[in-house]
Symmetry: C2
Subunit: 356 residues, 2 copies
């Protein structure tokens, strides 16, 4: 594809455990609503129209890269494009977020979900956006591709939208265990192909979002989430190898899965993302020395003054140390954060981790 040469590989070297001159930083949802230039694009185009139009997805992916000294870009998209490609209708409803207009109500609705799809046709727009963005990024930093994890996608497909208890989807786990596994396997099969094609299109890292881990018990997580997370890393790496594609590092971010840090560190991912409820020192003890940790500033810390943000960034560097750490928030940035507050965080991470 003749992509421009990579000029900043700090995040990749960090993941390999190599010394770097500073701690790399990126931020979940860095292409998003807190940026006025993003709002400008969204005022003219529906959310999923932006996802589905490679030029628009590329433009909003690059917006934070133009403003800030970031060490990675992440392709603008949504985790729900996978269930959408599998046959469920999703709409972005104002004030409610993305919503399935006809969520799965019982296992008999599984006939509406199709795993036997051609991802290169259905999700072509994502791959085109990735390729275009790799070119336009001009090697400034690596480009991250991503997918939701099977349990998180399943829970949206059943709940239809966000839910404080996720009790409808969890009811499936307790009452329709076999059908749950069937749906989770269907999602896994599509996600594996989706991630491999993202790498073929130009993604240099992959992150899996298990955003709804924290509502599960450890037993439910081990039964319904972890096996599929593990299967994904294994099969993606095998398929990349078989298809002569380069291996890429993979990040697992299972939000609020404090109960399963050991298991997450042993399921084939180079990086484990942390939310802000976990202490860095404890996480390091529990995952061992060979995993790179990502995170974990409380997103609300960015409401604070520049001075306090700088102190928090220093605290993060002090707690994680100068090896195998990618600075990030513990969740996506909130829409009402001022862009200069994010800039203060990024610059403080670079400045206070400087080792050259």
């Amino acid at each position: 594809m003749n992509f421009p040469p990579l000029k900043n590989d700090t995040i990749l070297r960090t993941i390999r455990g190599e010394p770097t001159s500073y701690t790399p930083v990126w931020v979940m949802r860095q292409a998003g609503r807190y940026l006025p230039e993003f709002q400008e694009v969204r005022s003219q185009h529906d959310f999923f129209k932006v996802c589905q139009t490679p030029e628009l997805a590329c433009e909003v992916t690059l917006q934070p890269i133009r403003r800030f000294n970031l060490d990675a870009a992440i392709i603008f998209s949504d985790i729900l494009v996978v269930p959408q490609a599998m046959g469920l209708k999703v709409e972005m409803l104002p004030g409610q977020g993305p919503t399935f207009t006809e969520p799965l109500q019982s296992p008999s609705d599984l006939i509406r979900v199709c795993a036997d799809i051609d991802v290169n046709e259905k999700l072509k727009y994502v791959f085109e956006a990735i390729t275009l963005t790799r070119h336009q990024l001009d090697g400034k930093c690596p480009l991250i591709g991503f997918s939701g994890a099977p349990w998180t996608l399943m829970s949206y497909m059943i709940e239809g939208k966000g839910s404080p208890t996720i009790s409808k989807a969890k009811k499936w786990l307790y009452c329709y265990s076999e059908d749950s596994h069937k749906l989770l396997q269907m999602l896994t099969d599509v996600i594996v192909k989706y991630l491999v094609e993202q790498v073929r299109a130009g993604a240099q890292l992959l992150q899996i979002f298990e955003s709804h881990a924290g509502i599960l018990s450890k037993a439910s997580f081990l039964q319904f989430a972890l096996p599929y997370i593990q299967q994904i890393s294994k099969r993606v790496k095998e398929d990349l190898n078989q298809q002569g594609l380069s291996n890429v590092p993979m990040i697992i971010f299972a939000k609020d899965a404090h109960y399963a840090l050991e298991e997450l560190s042993a399921c084939g991912y180079e990086v484990v993302g942390l939310d802000w409820t976990i202490e860095p020192a404890e996480a390091r003890l529990r995952v061992g020395e060979n995993i790179t940790l990502q995170g974990n500033l409380d997103p609300c810390q960015l409401y604070a003054s520049h001075n306090d943000i700088v102190k928090a960034a220093q605290g993060l560097i002090d707690k994680f140390g100068n090896r195998r750490h990618i600075a990030n928030l513990g969740h996506g940035i909130y829409p009402d954060i001022q862009p200069d507050h994010l800039e203060a965080f990024i610059d403080a991470i670079h400045k206070h981790s400087c080792r050259s």
Copy 2:
């Protein structure tokens, strides 16, 4: 007050670490919407009207006691009656839950909050409900009184209603630290008086609900939540003593505060409640031998078949052992649980923990 003699003190003996012939069980929100007889009362009366009318609050408190073999009753009320008594208007909006019509928007709104209230006037209805219920319970089991913890109440007062990120209230912690402490102290002062008067009225145990602990970092929890939780147990015990009232055991339930189990076990409460994301064996290791643990079945487990509920109850007994454990859910029971499923849980706990 000449209350009827207590016939079942299993929960109290469990908390003292004494041997009991079985594991006691009660369930958070056991007086609630999953019961058709509760829905019947609510169809005729507004939610807060039920709280404010001692006969109605007593009636719904007793409903689950009549149906099930429970080892404790908990007075029907709402944690938001405290901010309501301090001057903020709360309404129960259908589908949204209790909602503050004019939430606190900035620290200047603190003039609308009054800590210098006569709880015996403003919350008289709660104390009357407790006294009436103690009589009508006829000693079947102890009666639990409760309050929200300061941070949880503060977060509702600012958010106005439930919120997935609680980011408005957390913004106060990062931007208006002094005003946050001022509000938390005002709440603490009222909560202490409120709990002491609940004991005077007849409450035999007290539970504090820190329902919004899980959205805080450990640092924020230690700064803005724990000190007030600790102050409450200390002052309530001192005040009971000074006023010649009997001491009562206190339960702290800080939902999703996995990061602070050690601290919670050392802040003056006899019982620590656990949500379902914490493994019982790990909790026991971390809190030591002198704390009684309460919990922690996933509320969604009650969607399962009777057979599976019985197995889950056995699992709970096996994991917690037969000392210093009060069986409960890890959160309130959901409104769409069938009452016979709760009955299966309660009976299985008694049967499988039987030691006589």
